[in-house]
Structure formats: C-alpha cells, structure tokens
Point group: C2
Chain length 662, copies 2
C-alpha cells in the first residue's frame, strides 16, 4: 500500500524527513557525538506540537471525565516489576549473526527476508515494484540485494499468511520459520542463531549501596495501580473511576530504526479505568457513542491470514461480541474522536485486535488503534482489558487491600453449608495435627459439604483427605463436628476491579499526524518543493506569523504591539523579521505548519490595517486591527473556518507575498 | 529561625504533612512495597498544582521572551557526561560507619552532629530549645539523644562559623573536621570512615550488547548545549537567544530524607541564555527590572561566617559588582517576579551567592534563590553563569562548531607580523623535517615575531626552537623566510557564547509554595484543625468546587450544566456530591486549596441563582448564573479580587455552610 500526502500525492518520505529536520521538529539526540539509535530530541516546533497534543488529550480525557491524574516516578524497584510480570515476560526475541555478531530482532528479520523474497517474485513476474529512494540507499550498504526469483504460487500464499500473523509467533516458532525457509542475514549470507528472549527494560540501581536493583518503567501503568487504594479513597469510594498519567517511559529496543516510531524513551499518556467486573462491564455514557462507526480488523480474520476490515457502529460491534464489552467499546470510540480532533486522517485509521500469542501477559482483550504511515500500519494507541490481573498480583504480593468494598443496597442472604468444630475436643484429639486437619476441613468446598453432611448423619463419622497426616485420610466423628445448611447475611460486597487501559504513544501519534497533514504546493500546480503542514489550528505549533514588509524601523513598534495583543488573547505567535522575501518567509512557515500570517506594511503604519493570510489557500484578507484579531481568535478556537473569514472581509491581492520561492 | 504559616502562626510540619498526604498532594512512591527513599508520586491535586506552575513558568519565561523550547532525552551516553565533567566531578562526599555499615552524607553528618552539640549547649545554658514533634519521633529510633553539655563561647562561635560555610568544604576538609572535633555517628558512637566521592548519576546501558554505558541526565542542560548549532540556525543566527527545557532529571542522592526537597527523580525547568561575552554581558531589557529590590547574601559575608543579607535594587547590585553582570542580574529579577506571581512569600526569599569551593565545576558565578521553609533555607532556583565552559568542551571533544559567526559591521583591520616561507626552497632544504619546522614557524607568537624580523634583517638569519629536530635549534636564512608587518582585514568575528542558566527545581518550589500558603482557621478563632491552602487562583489545583445541598435528584441537571459552563470558560471544577455536610465538604476543599465554591440549593432550581463562596474569608454572595460565572472568570484570571466581588454582589448568609467541622 502506497502512503499518500493530505492531498493524495505519493508521499516522499526522505523529502519530508529532511524538511522536518531542517525545521527542527526533531533531531537525533547527541548527533554531534554520533547519535544513539532510538533517541530523538524535539526542537521548538516539535515541542510545541507535542505540548498541544498533550493539552488536547488532557481536556478530551481527563477533564471531560474527571479522571484522577497522577505523576509517578520512572525509577521503579525490581520487585514491583517482578510481580507485574515484566521482569520475566517483557521481552522481544533476538538473534545473533554468528559471522559478524550483528544483533537482529527475530520478527523483524523474518518480515524483512520474506518481504524481500515476495518483492523478488513480483519482479520476476514482471510486476511493477515500488522503489523508494530510501530503499535504494539502503541497498548500497547491503552486500546482497533483492533477487528477481519467481516463487510457486503456493509459496507466495504461505509467505503472505505468515506476514499477516507475524505478531502471533513466539521465539520457538520464529526459530522454526528461520530454519524451515532457510532465512539468511542479507548482510552476511549466514543463518542467524536461534531466537533468545531479550528483556526490554533499562536496569539501574538506586542508592549508594547498589543493593537496590531497579528499572526504568516500561509503562506508566504500574505506578497508577500501586496507588489504587489511595485513589479510590480520594474519589470518596465511588466506582467506576479512572486514573491517568502523562509521562516518559523507557524500552531498550533491540535495534530501533523507524525514526520517531520506534524509540527507547517516549512520552505516554495512559488511562486506567477501574470497572466492576460484574454486569458485563457496562459504561454509563456508552449511549453517547454507540452510533459512531469504527473500522475493525478482528483476530479471526488475521489468524486466517487476511487483513480485511469491516466498518461497523461500535454499538453493534459490542452487541455482536466482536468487541468484548461496553467499556472497551466506549474507549475505542473516544480514542477515535480524539484522533479526529487533532487532525488524524480518518481514512488512515483502523482498530486491530490482538491475537492470542501477541497479547501482553496481562491482557484479556486488546485493540490497537493503528495509523497508516509510510512505514505501514503503526500501532499508536493500545486499548487493553487488563482484567483484574495487576491489582490481584500486587495485592497478593504486598497484602495491600487493592479491592473495592461496596455496601449492598439490600443485604444478601446466602444459603450455605456451614461447619462447626468442637474446638475443646478437637485439639486434644488430633494433638499436633489439629491445625492441619482444621485447615483442611475449612477448605472443604460447598459442593462436597452436602454429601459429607449426609454421610455424617448416616455413619456418625466422615473421612476426609488431609495431606501429611497419617496415611492422608482422616476420620472425624460426629461428636467433634456439625455440618448444617444455614443462612448467612452479607452487607458488603468485596471485589477486585477490572481495568480497561487506553494507552497512547504520543510520539507516534505526532509523527503520523505530520504525515497525514503534509503535502506540497505541486498538487496545485505550484512548486513541488514547497512543503506545507496543514495542522488544524488547535495543534499547530505556532498560530500566527508576524511579517514586517522589510526591516524598516517604523514597523518595529507595530510588531511589538501585535505580539503583545496576541499574547493577551492566548494565541502564540512568532516574528520573522529576517531579510528574506515575504514569500520565502511565508514558505518557511508553511513548513512549520503556522496556519495564519499577518503582514505589516506601510499602509499598516498609516491606518492600522493588516493583511491576514491563510496557510492552506495562501489567500489574504485585509482589515483593521480589532477585526483581524477577532478573526484570528475565532479561527484558532475553531468557531470559524477560513471560508467564513473570506466571505466577511475584503480580499487583499498581494504583489509580493507569493512570488516563486527559489 | 522558626518557620511560620501564611498568617504568622508557628508551622506544625507533621500536621501539614499528614494533611498533604490525606489530600494526596503527594505520596511516597511504591508505598505498598515499603517505599523507596527519595521517590514520591504526585496525586491529583499535586499534579494539577505542578501543571499550573509549569504553565505559568512557560508563559513567564518561554513565551515572554520567545525562547526556543527543546525536549531532549534523559538517557545520555557516558561520553557526553565525561566531557561535561559530570562523570569525574558530579559527586557528594560519603562516609561509612565501620560498625553498622550505615552510609552517611559527609556534610549532612557534620551539620547534624555540630547542630546537636549547639543545641545541647543551649539546653545547658538554660535557653529555650524548640522541640519539634518530628524530632521527638526521630529520637526514639536513635541510640543517643542530644546531651545538655555546655561549650566554651569560642567553640560555639567556631561551630557556627563552620555551619555558615558548610557548603564550602571539600571531602578532605570534611574529613579533617570529623577528626578534629571527634564527630561520632549518634547511632553507634563510632567515628565514620574518611569521606569518599560518590557519583550522583544513575548508570544504565543502552542497547542489547551492553557496550554502550550511559547515565540518566542529572540536568537538562547538556541536551540543550549539544543542539546549540541547530538552535542558532533555527533562530536565523540572531544573538542573544535562549533555549529552555522542562523535564525530569535524576540524582542518586546518598541518603535522602527531607520529603519533596531532596528527591532522586525531579522535574526541572532550565533556561540556557546564550550571550556574547564581550561588552560586559549586557541585557537589552535590563532597564525594565533595574529598580526591583532583591535580598542578597553575598559570598564574602558567608566566608566570614555570617548570614547577614542586604536589600538592594538589582541595578545597583550590578553597578557595584556584587552581581557580576546585567544578564545575571536580569534573570535574578525575573526569577523573583515569577516566584511572586505564583504566590511565594517575598519575605521568605533570598538570593545566596555560591562560595568558590561550592560552585559547580562549570560555573563562573552563581546565585541561588533560596526559600525559607520549616527545613530552613532551601535552594529552589540556581542562576549560574556557566561562562563558555560547556560549549567549549563539547566543541573540543567532537569538533562541532559550537560558535557564533558574526558579520562585522565594519571590517576589522588588524596590523600584525606575517611570515612567508619560500616553499619551493624550504622543503628541499629541510627534507624530512620540513613539515615540523614549518609548523613551529607558524606557531610563533606575535610578540616574538618583531624581534625575529629585526634579527633577520641584522644577521640575515634567525634561530628558533624546534623540538625533535637536530639539537632542538634550527637556523633559517633570509632566502627561505620573510617576516613583515602587514594589515589583515577581518569581515567576520567568531566567538563562543557564554551561558547564563536559570535552573528551577519545580518540586522544591511547589513544596515551598504549599508551606507559604498554608494556615489554619485557628488564627481567626476558628477550628485549629481546619487547614487552608490559600493558593492564588492561577496556581490552585482546582478553581471551583460545585456542591449540591443534598443528594436530591433535582440538583443533578444543574450540576452538569454548571460543570459544562465552567469547562467552556476554561475554568477547572470538581463536584463534591458526597453525603457529608456542606461545611465538611467546603473544609475538605479548603485543604485542597480550591479558591471558590458554588452551592446549588432549592432556590437555584427555582430561579437559577447560586451562591459563590470565597475560600479565604468563607464569605458568600448570591447572584444569577451569568453574574456568578463572570465573577468566577474575573477572579481566576486575576482581573478582580474577592473584595471587588463582595462590593458588587449581595452577601449571602448561610445557615448551613460553615457549621463546625468535627
């Protein structure tokens, strides 16, 4: 599938990449030291874009639903992550090339080699293969390139099915694929070693005595779970509720390559929504979203080696069981609304269900919001039903009561078989085995007690299994024990909440957002080299560019005045008073995604009128200061769009503003 | 010095602490696992308070001065921090108790033992010693408590002088103090081992091959420096400019105890302002702040064992050299304005200059903004002149041009002694030594060239030192060399900018802000146990509390309606519809620092009027919806204060709202 720009042009990633670095959206960290794979710094526009995404996220989720935001530490003692299962299971499969020592991520390696074979097959069949500039570059470095070898039709189908469920293989299975298909490292022609697990957490030690091993958190979730009891109290014991956290997490990726999409340090936003597992995990606001249509790729389709999606109302998907429950469904819809709000192309969004082997060790069901980019479909938001897993394991390990106690509206009368022991006689009779026998008796399940009660009445004694006492069978006579059916009344109910967790990789979303909003003026018959980032105003890094016509001194007070006015309105602006032509300056800001521009010219000095320019259409209007400021406010708040403004205000035909750039 | 509340009451820290934990401002991280010293999580109100401080910081510094915000990674390769000096020098002095293995931070240990002796002396002299509850608790754990032993007057003075300059001692000197005064660990009665350096950085490894040692950054600064060349270009090569960063940093403190004030993971906000070192580091906006009065504790006073401060206009302090330059002075004033804006008590703020030994290895001059808390004076903002140190060492290590090239307005004519070699003859004459001799000639300094020119003219040859050639002396005759005074014209000037760095510990500021805004209703004859946090509205975690009179169903639509209205205004609110009395609910929100409260009662249902309550005075007014909302907007934006609102709107005397709480 070819990725496209906002206007449907084929997307040329190397050109976009170089634009993003030139405009300092992001840059490899420590570049003057040679850089470190998987680490990136955000420059000023990237930083502002990310901050705006975070701000909208906080409003859309936290404020809208009164979630309890917490900020927990990244440093985490090993014990916590041992309990959560991360020390044992949070790993990727890694192979080593025995010849050159190269380390390969096993699933990526299988994908790469099978993908190359399929491409070679296409070539051999005389089909057109898209050749990206980047691929061409890569080839130079590699010792072997794709060979045009035709494959059997059956083999092609086999490969395609493997690739469709590549995320479902464990290490052993990946090793079998490597053996079976004789997959060789293209750099050496050698088959790599069998996959071994590599834990993805960064390890360190807290304190001077280095006896406190710890990790950098791989997710923000654990800190939220550990605070569950306090949060529940803070929420005055009302259920359901959610906590949320925005913060950095760390994963020691084996061999990160895909730019911002696979990094070792990244900003996450995670919600832990605690819900009563009884009653089907319903959600009070599900009705508000039930008609929203989502694009789903379910697990059965994938296991069949297919990638066909279905578009369906979320209400229906929950009703027919494709999506497990209302709470999960509610958040899928809310995730979609959020992505829509920030400017993600809805035709490049799908929800993919995890397959059984792929699911994290804690998850009961999981859907990923995937966004289509030039790297293919990329997981940007995970929405997992973690069941009661985390709260249960931490409670068991620490003894902390990570549960909800609910007063029952109507006390519950439970009929059950109860056992009374005559403690006075029981102890002396069984002597040192007393406690063991007592524990075994109390552990007798309800379904056995009825039969035992009948036996006791019939025989005057019962025989039960007690491991470690005598021959493992113990006889208890009726003078020591009574078994009766009675009614017990319960006034409170205790339960461990289940957790539904929408988890956002904000850096990935930011990158997809950039690709979805990128295009070049070439589509409109203009200069192909003039890139534009058409971010919606609320997320745009800067809202307004202020451009004086020239470096004439008389413009300076007006620049200062307009900056000040915009700051009061809460609208971010930047001045570009460099000596470049107005056209060049606007073009630079199109690349930065600045939606609006104000030109200050000699007319402005005379009568305080200004021109306002729209980034996307490059059209301009002219009006007095207050009118221009009001239009800017309406446009940045989203209460108006440019076509409204164009209708209301007189157009301005510039002689200078949009001259060719190069 | 006793610390006090906002209303001047003695501050009872254990009571405040328990309130802050009960209201979940912060909580020890991993508490159900026993906790880890120096790690804290922020709960919902702490999180919101911190976010508001960050937001105001960003507006006050970044937006106000168009700083370039960057977001760099915390993971940092060892090589970078080796170059910056942190691997070798970023350490504290640590002693070990040979008896029980306890690890002590040397300076804190000396402070503690000498402090205890001074206290014992006061007791022996019959002076009143403040005994804090917390101290009493600590004592129980310790084997030895303060002994009432009178000291010589001279000894008392010696101890006090040592404590005044405790930050100025290095490890050896601290060791000497321990020996000289026979300082024993109070827990064992044993003298600890001599201090050794303990590096404060957390170490880890990046990538699967573990051959990439790295650290978690101890400050955000290095990432900013490494991006200097890109930032300069982004700023279109205009100087001066500043970059800024808000992010987590990590320090492996030896034995952290003082709550939020000494933590191992913390949020910093740092500015790196790049300034031309020539011309006295002037600042274009210094005039705007020059009359602002600051409280200074200079280094000479401290070295004399004193802590006397002076209050002086920053303009004067720069003029008389107390503060080194305008840029440093400008930022001290701006720091003060920021702290004032968020609600720091200005009478509990001073700027303390670092003493020579205390200064970080990179600093040329440094002032700390210290805030008075119940832990004493605490460094919350550092403002260092890092000179050209960082850019120079990174440029030298990597070869990257971390410099500014400035086109000279007027080309510079430089008269100098120039040397021309006759290359054609020179090479064949010196043969294999040619290159060495040439390098030595070119390295000749200006002050030697004049004499050599004269010698050449007089003797027809010169003799220069060239190490490694012959006997180290080389003769060059006038047919090989010409030395002449000529004029060279320079069109550009190259320089390494100096850096002035205001660096904010946001967690410490948050804690000091809490102490400065805390008081109890006891001061007004009310309940001593009713704590209040009188945060200014812009930083308050939540602005408005919505309280329905009871759980009556008819209030629910109004609650929802008002929540919605406030959300549109951008004012954060929370509903408390618990069954507690109105008074109790308000009291809970006084502890959370919520400045305003809206009560919804039966009258509201009838006529859409609401009461608005002021947290600080507990006074209430009543008006219709729009009037109440307008008042809230004005109060939270700071355009009005409560006394304005009280004058404009009719007072409301509640029968229920302020009944006793317990």
């Amino acid at each position: 599938m070819t990725s496209t720009t906002l206007k449907g042009q084929p997307l040329d990633r190397p050109i976009l990449d170089s634009m993003l670095r030139r405009r300092m959206f992001y840059t490899p960290s420590f570049e003057i030291y040679g850089g470190v794979a998987g680490l990136f710094d955000y420059g000023p526009p990237g930083c502002a874009l990310l901050a705006n995404i975070v701000d909208l996220w906080r409003k859309h989720f936290i404020l809208e639903e009164d979630m309890l935001e917490v900020d927990c530490t990244a440093l985490t003692p090993a014990e916590v992550l041992k309990t959560s299962g991360h020390v044992d299971k949070f790993a990727d499969w890694m192979c080593k090339d025995p010849k050159n020592g190269e380390i390969l991520r096993a699933d990526h390696f299988v994908e790469e080699v099978l993908g190359a074979r399929l491409k070679g097959d296409k070539e051999a069949r005389g089909l057109k293969v898209e050749e990206k500039e980047e691929d061409a570059k890569k080839k130079k470095k590699k010792s072997k390139t794709t060979e045009a070898v035709k494959l059997d039709d059956a083999v092609v189908q086999e490969y395609e099915e493997i690739l469709a469920k590549i995320d479902n293989y464990n290490g052993e299975e990946l090793g079998q694929l490597i053996k079976k298909y004789e997959l060789k490292n293209p750099n050496t022609g050698v088959e790599p070693s069998p996959p071994v697990a590599f834990n993805l957490m960064f390890q360190t030690a807290i304190g001077p005595s280095s006896n406190a091993p710890s990790y950098l958190r791989p997710e923000t979730a654990q800190g939220q779970f550990l605070n569950f009891a306090k949060l529940l109290e803070f929420n005055q014991h009302q259920m359901p509720f959610a906590s949320a956290s925005i913060g950095k997490s760390f994963r020691n990726e084996i061999s990160p390559r895909a730019g911002l999409l696979r990094v070792r340090e990244f900003l996450m936003a995670e919600i832990e929504h605690y819900v009563d597992p009884e009653g089907g995990k319903r959600h009070a606001r599900f009705d508000e979203v039930k008609d929203i249509e989502v694009v789903l790729l379910n697990r059965h389709t994938q296991l069949a080696g297919q990638t066909t999606v279905e578009k369906v109302a979320i209400g229906k998907a929950v009703a027919n069981g494709t999506v497990d429950n209302e709470t999960l469904g509610y958040f899928l819809a809310r995730i979609q609304l959020f992505l829509q709000k920030i400017g993600i192309d809805q035709s490049k969004l799908r929800f993919r269900q995890h397959m059984a082997n792929e699911m994290a060790h804690y998850a009961a069901d999981c859907w990923d919001a995937e966004l289509l980019t030039s790297y293919g479909w990329v997981e940007c938001v995970g929405c997992a039903d973690r069941s009661a897993y985390d709260l249960t394991v931490h409670a068991k390990k620490t003894g902390a009561p990570l549960i909800v106690r609910e007063k029952l509206e109507k006390p519950l009368a439970i009929e059950e078989w109860q056992i009374d022991l005559d403690k006075k006689k029981f102890g002396p009779y069984f002597k040192k085995d007393g406690k063991t026998v007592e524990t075994a008796v109390e552990a007798l399940p309800q379904d056995k007690r009825e039969a035992l009660a009948q036996a006791l009445q019939a025989d005057g004694k019962i025989t039960i299994d007690v491991e470690g006492v005598g021959n493992g069978k113990v006889e208890i006579s009726k003078d020591l024990i009574v078994i009766e059916r009675r009614t017990r009344v319960e006034h409170t109910r205790e339960f461990t909440p289940n957790v539904v967790e929408p988890s956002f990789g904000l850096g990935r979303i930011l990158y997809a957002l950039i690709e979805h909003n990128y295009w070049t003026r070439g589509t409109e018959g203009g200069d192909e080299a003039r890139g534009v980032l058409s971010f919606p105003p609320p997320v745009a890094p800067t809202k307004v560019l202020l451009v004086p016509l020239s470096s004439n001194e008389s413009f300076k007070p007006l620049l200062k005045h307009m900056s000040h006015k915009l700051r009061i309105l809460g609208v971010s602006s930047r001045v570009d008073d460099s000596s470049a032509s107005i056209g060049k300056r606007y073009s630079r800001n199109d690349e930065l995604g600045t939606p609006l521009g104000i030109t200050i010219d000699f007319q402005s000095v005379k009568d305080s009128t200004f021109t306002l320019r729209d980034r996307d259409s490059t059209k301009q209007v002219r009006a007095d200061e207050d009118t221009i400021l009001a239009a800017i406010k309406a446009l940045t708040e989203g209460t108006k769009v440019w076509s409204d403004v164009e209708k209301e205000l007189p157009a301005f035909e510039s002689q200078d503003a949009e001259v060719p750039v190069r």
